[in-house]
């Protein structure tokens, strides 16, 4: 193999951003030795070398976006030799400076990045003088032409309002998913509180929520499902694969805690800790970030009583847990101060009825209200 192309990293991810090369041109590499780290839409993936060899060329540098099937590295070819009768002094093959020319495209290469911004040389010079990045300027001219006015406006905005930046990586994924969700899902959110005065000291709210979700899914299995809005098909899922929203400095991750109904509490706790650690180190494989059947967002660890968590297709439900606080409650005809857990349940009202969602929330609360 002369060219190693960016392999399909699974789950339909078509592009990856190079994070770091682990090899330099001219260096030898062994099969399965780490070649490059790439950031897919969801995580950092380590790509190993498919063969032994000497690296000749690296295609792209950190920050470049590569598409599946595009060459990633070129390996050194075997040396060549030639003899032949010539007129004059004609150099022949196997000279040290011979270059590879085995791979070519008939016509033009596919655009890897967005085309250049269009503007006249004078406007380009203006942008340079004002230190305006044309990539950030929105064009008002015909066919996306950037005018001098656009550049001046962008300059004024930056100096008066502050600089802007382009979303990357997981931030970009979040923005896309939220846009898609908003466009497709008909979302309804219902709220309620659970009195958790029975919980013993040191109860872990997250593990109780996981257990309660399992219980609620048994009552209303249609909320643990995937919905295809084009085909109008609902697929209630046999396993409960719970997506758990994790906030990180890099952005929002939703690792999947698999098959929660078949695992005991200790196993789930270990699994959750492992996922959180992997997210924190940015070493979580993409496979651990896809295929969730229902989602939990425990924003109460930060702040907020009720939320309006967003259902991301194809799932149909997400549970939000707010801050646990001491509240004044009516308890057995008396005024009492108990710890209360506020809940929010968002569901996609296209395939799910209010009754189903209400019964789900009720089952959730019933389980959470238990002492243990």
């Amino acid at each position: 193999m002369k060219y190693f192309k960016l392999p399909d990293l699974g789950e339909g991810l078509q592009e990856s951003e190079i994070v770091e090369w682990h090899i330099k041109p001219g260096e030898a590499i062994k099969t399965d030795q780490l070649l490059v780290s790439v950031e897919t839409a969801k995580a950092i993936v380590e790509v190993p070398s498919p063969q032994d060899g000497i690296i000749k060329t690296l295609f792209g540098k950190p920050g470049d976006i590569l598409h599946v099937g595009e060459p990633l590295v070129e390996f050194e070819g075997e040396s060549q030799e030639d003899t032949g009768t010539v007129v004059g002094e004609m150099k022949s093959a196997s000279e040290t400076n011979s270059v590879s020319d085995d791979h070519f495209i008939i016509g033009s290469a596919h655009h890897r990045s967005a085309p250049q911004k269009r503007c006249t040389p004078a406007v380009r010079a203006l942008a340079k003088r004002l230190n305006v990045d044309l990539a950030m300027v929105s064009a008002s001219g015909s066919n996306g032409l950037i005018t001098a006015e656009d550049v001046e406006k962008a300059h004024q905005m930056s100096s008066e309002k502050g600089e802007q930046f382009i979303l990357r990586g997981v931030q970009r994924v979040m923005a896309n998913n939220m846009t898609k969700a908003h466009a497709q899902v008909v979302q309804v959110t219902i709220h309620d509180d659970v009195d958790i005065y029975r919980w013993p000291e040191g109860t872990d709210p997250t593990m109780r929520l996981v257990r309660a979700i399992k219980a609620a899914c048994e009552i209303e299995p249609n909320l643990n499902a995937w919905y295809d809005g084009n085909e109008m098909t609902l697929r209630p899922l046999k396993k409960i694969d719970l997506g758990i929203a994790v906030d990180t400095p890099d952005g929002l991750f939703v690792p999947i805690l698999r098959n929660i109904s078949q695992r005991d509490a200790d196993d789930l706790r270990d699994g959750l800790n492992n996922l959180r650690q992997a997210v924190k180190n940015r070493k979580i494989p993409p496979s651990e970030l896809i295929g969730g059947s229902i989602t939990l967002s425990n924003y109460g660890t930060i702040a907020g009583r009720y939320g309006n968590p967003v259902v991301v297709p194809p799932t149909v439900a997400i549970i939000g847990a707010g801050v646990i606080k001491e509240e004044v409650v009516a308890f057995e005809g008396q005024v009492a101060i108990h710890r209360v857990l506020p809940l929010s349940l968002s569901f996609d009202h296209r395939p799910i009825t209010g009754g189903e969602a209400g019964r789900f929330l009720k089952a959730l609360m019933t389980d959470l209200a238990l002492a243990e």
Binding site: P25, T57, L58, F59, G60, K61, D64, E70, P71, Q80, E81, D82, G84, T85, V86, V87, G88, E89, M90, K91, S92, A93, E95, N97, S98, V99, S100, D101, D102, H103, F104, I105, I106, G107, S108, A109, H111, R112, S113, P115, Q116, R118, C119, T120, P121, R124, A125, K128, L145
Partner: protein, 331 residues
């Protein structure tokens, strides 16, 4: 039945392979030129063809280029597909009358009644320490003439595919073979009769920082420059124009839209060259994408020097790298 592994061929061997393939496939294909039959050609491009196809299809001619071109025009207009060799491009001028006044306009002049499906092969270009008139690059003369296709291959595989297309083309093709790289590289060439399109550029390296446009032997230096710059993190898109007339500006424009910068490299003298045409079209059609002036790195406007000074005339990898760096540093 096991298939043989494809053989590695040099560029000149790929010429031979394509000629033999097409002569086997199409009885109307004939080869003529000085020393092409018994001798097999001064560069061995036609070696073995006489033995296989006989002297009725592989013809030695007198040392008379006007005759070679004139006979080829006659054959082509009457149903044969001649592939004539001009031993060195420097000898082609005696044949210009036939090429320009007859071959190029046969179809137009006869209102389509006759056509002229001939190929004129000529080794061209410098860098082999040959006398000066053996070393020039005068492709622009032919690219200027309506009715001619001008094709310049730059690797064994593309030579094979392009020569097949040139022979199959129903109109005259000037097929200029960069002799400096006749034997420079070997490449797997599969003799499967698959032609490559004329009129389309080839993208040899994908890049996003700058577009490097060239053809012929300079492709070799261009690729070296691109590979060296890649080590510094500069991503150069290398385009082999391959067919100079008609010119596939679409591919070049597509690339420049992406990179915003373009350097054109040709061995031929700078003024009024094919590079000037490409630069002019970029100015007309890509001005709004350009982030720097289009740069030409080209031969001097002087007669090709005698070979003692030839190396000063030829374009080296360092000059291409410098030109790219200057263009990237602009603005």
């Amino acid at each position: 039945m096991t298939s043989l592994p494809p053989l590695k061929k040099t560029l000149v061997e790929a010429v031979n392979l394509a000629l033999a393939h097409e002569m086997r496939r199409d009885e109307s294909v004939v080869v003529l030129g000085e020393d092409v039959a018994t001798n097999g050609g001064v560069f061995r491009a036609t070696e073995g063809l006489k033995d296989e196809f006989g002297i009725r299809r592989v013809m030695d001619t007198p040392l008379a280029e006007a005759l070679i071109a004139g006979v080829a025009v006659g054959m082509a207009s009457q149903g044969l597909k001649p592939v004539a060799e001009i031993q060195f491009m420097g000898f082609i001028f005696a044949a210009m009358e036939h090429i320009i006044c007859h071959a190029a306009r046969m179809r137009n002049r006869t209102r389509g009644r006759l056509s002229c499906p001939m190929v004129l092969r000529a080794p061209y270009g410098g860098g082999i320490h040959a006398p000066e008139h053996h070393s020039e690059s005068t492709e622009a003369l032919f690219a200027h003439i309506p009715g001619l296709r001008v094709v310049v291959p730059s690797s064994p595989a593309r030579t094979y595919g392009l020569l097949l297309s040139a022979i199959r083309d129903p109109d005259p093709v000037i097929f200029l073979e960069p002799k400096r790289i006749y034997r420079l590289n070997k490449q797997e060439v599969i003799d499967n009769g698959e032609a490559l399109p004329l009129d389309v550029c080839f993208t040899l390296r994908e890049g996003k920082d700058i577009t490097l446009v060239t053809w012929g032997a300079m492709v070799h230096e261009a690729l070296q420059a691109a590979d060296q710059l890649a080590q510094q993190g500069i991503s150069v898109e290398v385009i082999d124009v391959a067919t100079l007339k008609p010119l596939d500006m679409e591919t070049i424009l597509h690339s420049v839209e992406k990179t915003g910068r373009c350097v054109i490299v040709h061995e031929a003298a700078r003024s009024n060259g094919v590079g000037a045409e490409i630069a002019a079209q970029l100015a007309e059609k890509a001005l709004l994408w350009l982030q720097a002036p289009v740069k030409r790195i080209a031969g001097y406007d002087i007669p090709m020097p005698y070979f003692k000074y030839e190396q000063y005339y030829m374009i080296h990898v360092d000059e291409i790298i410098q030109g790219i760096e200057e263009t990237l540093a602009y603005g």
